[in-house]
Symmetry: C2
């Protein structure tokens, strides 16, 4: 698509609806090949599985008791009750962590603790609570048990050959637990996406510097890096890049070649936006995908693709840049991390009541930052954080945000809204 | 409280309701002193602020344009419209990143881009879109502007001396952005809590080993470590500890002295539970806080406190251990990380429809693991993951969970439930 096609007959930029822009972006990324690498199990936390895996063995490998009691033959207890108990001889003790000695034969039982291996011949466990000791060698069983009672059978957790984890699954603590239980000590995971971060604009100095008059500290670089790190990406800092076309083009070309995602931000002026547009077009293959979305804040975002690298020209205002990150960079990063079904479930929210009327232009998605005020048993109050999109403090004061959808012209006081927490 | 007082007249353990157990635990931790340390800004991501901080300077330090246009004296534009434009002479250009040359005087304006520093004498910006060029030296302004239009004033983001971040606040990417904008390059944060993890039981071998018959691989250790790491804790692995009272007591004593939280798990047998109870009582100061909660899975948890260290005897079954972690260890860890208001807002959920009747005993909190099935525009379906609490695969298959509250005897098919995602 050429830059000209993205404008209407009056030369105004055509704004793409947010969902359409996201869909164009993810379609553009659908054929990207994500490399994988081997990783020891403990380091695989929060990485993404790059191949389906099945259980190499039964878990557990042997039946184990889930209660303290006696390993029995279930048939020996049939009909047992407190009025008509059955009597079993204690013929053995299962030592924890040991292979049980001897078999359980008719009319006999072995003492067993939770976690103990079931002796040969037994097929159920009677809990201590359902027995009465007669003497050292004999118990009364006052409740009958069926086959399999109070034990976990061989392969009951997972059977050998059954799917354990699917390709594209994020490895959570409990997933590592399953792999540990199966004796899988290392595994294939997708490589972490590499994200290049550039700040642009001759007015920007590194945040660690004291800016001379006329210049300001870079805010977007550290915010974007933090957002990327939280999503498990590797961040490569390309620093502050001059507005000069040659310098900017060369840096962007290198960053695009070396990374999976390139984020540049800083220029909110028309000149800077035009420059961003030009260099993405010049990189080509295919170049610009989306220029301007029907979103506030965040309208002037540029989304591009060059070979297999997604390029985002984020607005310079910190609030706009972070909103664009949430809506566009996050799904792209999850896609390039190899996560399946990134939009499978809606993101979790909490309900709150908006404390005033808020207007919105129809045809545009509005993101409203809010502070929440707890009110005991009532739903919390959502208090909009007002302030310009250049004011980073409004994001730092916000507990979360809600959306006013495109068709809506606003929300009225006392309406319940779904809050996405910024936690 | 002695162990005897925790039992009823028939010698049964009295189960503490979940909310009461949590409240006893957090009350026990309320006077714990959390040390702090200095940390460079980029390393402060996801750490917790240990002191209030206020802005050391105005942000921005000078008024800046938020639009491309002309810096003007607002008074010069009063009454301007497309039918009665006013005329202003272009007396200068604000170069990006430079201190503007000259003042804006009556009837004059300076060309300015977004982010440019406002020249002396100007108090508003007229957007390009609201001007018509007459020649190189003169514009028509077709819309009047008020003082402050299209600019961010000195201190408008945050004023010098105003509170920037509060003690107990988790430092999110946007909070680092605010600190960066204010030139704060290092800051005081709470030290990360240290968590000791021990697995107990003579039947347990490290997960990296091949277990001989009768033994099983340790699952809880790696799951608990992952859960702690995700919450920003430092995990210290004390390995697998023998059931022998002396060895266990000595290891627990050392772990308690060296850490803020001690987690031991593995023994689900009565003997092992009694041992856990004995050693926590022996450590004392004060010893056991809670023994057994009205929760399924997770009933046999032991919660103790010794000096300033919280001790959790978690059930050996992996599902029970993780549930107890979510409900009890997480709030304790957040408290010991220095986070304020950990329970300020309810945790975000998504709504789903339960696909079958599920029974629950009244007087007990039930946690039901579920898989979710997306259904287009309808709410997703919540399908309970059935399986014993010893089966780690049930947690790996689960997308989330919901609660059946103490007074309830179950939920019926087609009821909407609030799902906490296990993401």
């Amino acid at each position: 698509m050429s830059a000209a096609e993205l404008k209407d007959m009056l030369g105004r930029v055509r704004l793409t609806p947010v969902e359409k822009a996201k869909s164009i972006l993810l379609t553009g990324l659908q054929d990207v090949v994500i490399p994988s690498e081997r990783c020891p199990l403990p380091a695989a936390l929060d990485r993404v599985r790059s191949a389906d895996s099945s259980a190499p063995e039964d878990l557990p490998t042997h039946p184990r008791s889930t209660m303290d009691g006696f390993a029995v033959r279930a048939a020996d207890t049939f009909g047992a009750s407190s009025t008509t108990p059955c009597y079993l001889e204690i013929a053995g003790n299962v030592a924890m962590g040991q292979v049980p000695e001897g078999n359980v034969t008719q009319g006999k039982c072995h003492r067993i603790a939770t976690g103990g291996l079931l002796p040969q011949g037994s097929d159920a466990v009677v809990m201590f609570e359902h027995t009465i000791p007669v003497d050292d060698k004999m118990i009364e069983v006052v409740k009958s048990v069926g086959v399999g009672t109070s034990l976990i059978a061989r392969g009951e957790d997972i059977e050998k050959g059954c799917p354990a984890l699917l390709r594209g699954q994020l490895l959570r603590p409990q997933d590592l637990g399953l792999l540990a239980g199966l004796g899988i000590t290392e595994l294939e995971v997708y490589k972490q996406p590499r994200v290049a971060i550039l700040s642009t604009g001759d007015e920007i100095v590194p945040w660690s510097n004291s800016p001379p008059p006329g210049k300001i500290r870079d805010i977007n670089g550290i915010v974007l890096a933090g957002l990327c790190e939280r999503l498990g990406a590797k961040v490569i800092d390309y620093g502050i890049v001059s507005d000069s076309e040659d310098v900017f083009y060369n840096t962007l070309e290198q960053a695009t070649a070396e990374n999976n995602i390139v984020l540049f931000s800083g220029g909110s002026s028309v000149g800077m936006r035009d420059l961003g547009e030009q260099v993405i077009e010049k990189l080509g293959n295919p170049g610009i995908l989306v220029h301007g979305v029907a979103l506030r804040p965040g309208k002037p975002i540029i989304i591009g693709l060059s070979q297999q690298t997604a390029i985002f020209g984020l607005p310079g205002h910190p609030v706009s840049a972070m909103v664009c990150f949430e809506l566009f960079v996050t799904p792209a990063l999850e896609k390039l991390a190899g996560k399946m079904d990134t939009s499978q479930f809606s993101s979790p929210t909490i309900q709150a009541i908006v404390d005033r009327n808020i207007n919105s232009a129809a045809g545009r998605l509005d993101l409203v930052r809010v502070q929440l005020q707890e009110r005991g048993n009532d739903l919390p109050l959502a208090i909009p954080v007002l302030g310009k999109s250049g004011a980073i403090s409004t994001l730092s004061r916000a507990h979360g945000y809600f959306f006013i959808d495109e068709p809506s012209q606003g929300v009225t006081k006392d309406t319940p809204v779904q809050i996405h927490l910024l936690s």
